[in-house]
Symmetry: D2
Subunit: 346 residues, 4 copies
């Protein structure tokens, strides 16, 4: 069976593994106070066009942990985060945000993307209410978006700027979940780390789903959030004693353009598969430009694929149709891609 | 400078590193559903004298995460956990238990250990109260102990059984934090994994502080808690996508007696240092039998040590005395131990 | 200005006021352990066809408090409550349920009512998932419905039984918010307190919006929830020291059929207003059968009403249309009703 | 049996009852937006020497609710409140603060009072730690004191100023729980509402235990907390729909000096009882100056008292001694006081 069910079936990419082996004997201080974390932070800040005055980089054990601890730091009691109804924090993180005491206000999304007017509407409603009416709802405080989205799509720079604008106007904290950022950056024609860093108040650079063993880099610009984040991260159980592992991994990612390369290579594999689907007339649930594909296949193709490859079923219709998700990653063998392409076309 | 400030200054032990490299190319399912986790679980259950009917093993990203998610699964609203006033969850986890909505009821401890009568007293008070008086406090639901304790001491089998007995009588869930379990088991003459598993309702086997890159193995016997734990762990952000890393590490720990060996070796290094302190008449804050030492040094020795080694200062008195904590681990070089011994004696 | 903006513009109904004055000099124990609470409990249990073995009655300071403390008692970590997207706990309680750490899973509703198949779908999806997929979402644990609903409609006995059935099949706790129960019971042809008590695992009988100064009676059948509720209520700040006030009020409600009479009288006033709207061709946003009306008025009528009466605006369209909410209650003067009718018809 | 077990055995004082009856027919807006609340706010602000620019008054359903919602508004994630180990929020509110996600850092107290140096020590420890050490604990954010304390004692103006000073130096929010404020103000020679308002950032004026049916007035000076409090109060279920009841009660309290009179009268009754105890050589657990007395009685007196009066047992020693709590209030009949005095002396 070929593995297309997710983008974390492999271990870590060889470049990271090599560095882990290399640095393993070093005796280093704990809790991300080591030189590897410091070097990785410098590299990231530089790529993001930020200096140490303007932002800090923190290290979280998982994506859910990054989201939970960041948003918990940002939101006060009775404050809410706005997110697409397809947002990972709403559909796939087991109620983490609510566990922290906060409501997610879902807004309609298109292809996984929030439109600025959706945010505008919620905020205007709130702002135009009198004091007592406001007290009956949650105060909008933050906006959560994913880059790329859960449906594999990406925001253009213009779209990001529009979101950033509406957030600034309504004093909302804009947070970007970059679980699959490598694929998003590689697919985008106008958004690089710099643009992301300009538009967002905080974002995380995904490690786990982009070729690291585990761990994510959380970049925060807001001064107050930076001051309080480490304590919250610790409180949530997400501060890693041997932070060096994360520092080492992200140093490898950003010392040269490994992160970008890993993203591009996975996107290219996905593109080949997409083309194969298109050639046999299969349509897609979303116009993904990245490493996740959401083909809508009929029963026959569903069954044929099931025999040889692993994928995730998003939904099945009563007629036997299936909306599937297939992922590629740095570790997807070319041979597996070819086998899948043949299977689709056969 | 020699590093004695904690037991996680090294990377992972070579045996684990080798396995990580070996298994890295494997394509495996995510979220701890892989064969490495399954093998590690089997090995652990076997050593603990348990079968798959009696217990499950789960994998958590960190010790705070293990404590947070386990206790959150166990406790309902308005329920509390009893712990020593020196307990890690009370003094060093940034309010994680309270973040989950629960109160820690601290009880007096001796050398880091809870006495059964302390538990007895809290429970009797509660049980003898009328319904309204009970409603004004938190219902005791769980007991948290550490093995070894935060002061390096260990419970004897008799002590563990006594605690287990009082917990059973009052329907309290007994949970053991084994962040440094390797050192505790290696130091004990009558407690092995089997005994721990008999006395506790759940416990975790520490990886991070005992030689793994990160991660802890949570062993749970209670059926209801087993059924709900994974969802809570995910909600807390502690479920690791590439669980294989943890499976691989713990497989290495328990395939032979590596875990025990790592503990013993660190304890032996600590013993040499302890002897040196004793020889120059230094007394200790606690009778640690494991890899942590708590010497009470005068100003002169404090200064001399400060020049060459890193340690943690627990407290300083006005007269310049210091209570220190020094840790050894698998990665402490013999040379560092010797240097420290010389320093003490000089 | 005549007051139709809500059903709590008056103080308490005269029958309750009289009893409060009468019982004021009594010296009674605190925290609902008094004879007035005991008597009120007996009366309620009797009307509900329950005995003291089968259920307890508790007293909460407000409706949000009743919902918060009851659902917090019922749900464990990572568990969710299903509710209509129009549910009071979702739209008007400022994130109380999320504050307690739990997610509300909204399901589509019709006229404010949940359909059994909506519950069925969520539960089947969950139950058919494997263990890891389950861990990524919240476990359905309770269902929240309102009687009458937020749109003034009421469930028929058949509908209630169907909901109760699906809840039992999926081991969901069925909880009914009876903030305006007096109006619902008065409007229903086949649901009385007995039927409610048969179908629900817990429900609350609204005081505040039905003629009391404040306070709600929470009826709970489940043994474990009864055992733990008082502590949770206290923890939430909802246990009232002078519970006697609530006991006294609900004794007045249920000593004879005052509760029913208050509901009926408000419904009759609402019916007169509804007829007037219908006569001038105004349609309604929902087919309310109780004391809340949701007429959809054009700009002209909107403005005419605005001059003389107070109401709540649910929403305004760009064309100037308005969906309004008008409420009657025991305290609405007949003169106000007549004035409003004249205004509509003029 | 005479009732000395608490200060809320009566209904409300006659002056409040009269106003409730008088204002009952008024049709008023809900949620404390009514004229009675506005008038009560003006009266309170005036007595406190504050204007509407400097502070707002809010209305909470209970004391636990006031504490929970105020502190939840003040504290961000990972922040803690310092309190005496005898503090009501620590010993008698069922874990409300922890439920909201926050830790109570208890400090040693004397006669129920916190010493400024205790606060100083906790804050210095925190401030002198490095960033990583800080991340392992909770950040001190607020200080909770009670006036009078849970042991009936009161802070002098000098003591209050010292606490206020240390709080300002360390940017801590000083919050005063005035559940029994009437008794405290009546007993103090130098603290009136003005002084309290000068020293505290927020405080609440107790209604329930001082003669109202229920409800407390929360006075807040901090601008940000004022802006967010109402939403948090609603979220906690503590915003009362018929806030008029609270407005009416506090208007009665502060229209003339009723609040002070009620306090003084209860204190005088307590003084008579204290004198009687002293005359027969009974000593006290605390030097209470207010309406609560804590005599330490021998077994004989314990039994004699038990026959005729109700009191609360704080603790019993093995020798049969008992530390009792006896309370007086506006509703304690002179006859009961005399009977108790006779009983003590007999």
């Amino acid at each position: 069976m070929y593995q297309f069910q997710c983008d974390y079936t492999g271990g870590c990419c060889p470049e990271i593994l090599e560095k882990l082996v290399q640095t393993n004997p070093l005796e280093l201080p704990g809790y991300c106070e080591d030189s590897l974390c410091a070097e990785a932070e410098s590299l990231i800040l530089k790529k993001a066009g930020l200096n140490k005055e303007e932002a800090d980089v923190f290290w979280a054990a998982s994506g859910t942990m990054a989201n939970l601890s960041l948003l918990t730091t940002v939101m006060a009691a009775n404050e809410a985060v706005l997110a697409a109804d397809t947002a990972h924090i709403h559909t796939a993180e087991a109620g983490a945000i609510e566990f922290s005491g906060h409501k997610i206000l879902t807004v309609r999304s298109k292809d996984g993307k929030i439109l600025p007017e959706s945010i505008e509407r919620v905020c205007s409603n709130f702002e135009e209410s009198d004091q007592v009416s406001r007290a009956h709802v949650c105060r909008p405080r933050a906006v959560y978006i994913s880059f790329p989205t859960e449906l594999g799509t990406i925001y253009s720079l213009e779209e990001l700027k529009a979101l950033s604008g509406v957030c600034k106007r309504h004093r909302l904290f804009l947070y970007i979940d970059g679980a699959r950022l490598a694929y998003g950056l590689a697919a985008s024609s106008d958004v690089e780390l710099k643009e992301l860093a300009e538009c967002a108040d905080a974002f995380y650079i995904g490690g786990t789903k982009c070729g690291a063993l585990f761990g994510e880099a959380v970049v925060i610009k807001d001064r107050d959030v930076r001051d309080r984040f480490l304590g919250v991260l610790r409180m949530c159980g997400g501060l890693i004693a041997k932070g060096r592992t994360l520092g080492c991994s992200f140093k490898a990612f950003f010392e040269d353009d490994l992160y970008q390369r890993l993203g591009r290579s996975a996107n290219e594999k996905a593109a080949k598969i997409r083309t194969a689907f298109e050639e046999v007339g299969v349509s897609f649930y979303s116009e993904s430009q990245t490493n996740q594909l959401f083909p809508i296949v009929d029963e026959k193709l569903f069954n044929r694929l099931s025999e040889k490859i692993k994928f995730k079923v998003i939904r099945r219709t009563q007629e036997g149709q299936g909306i599937l998700r297939l992922c590629t990653s740095w570790s997807t063998p070319d041979e597996a891609v070819q086998a899948l392409v043949n299977l689709i076309k056969s």
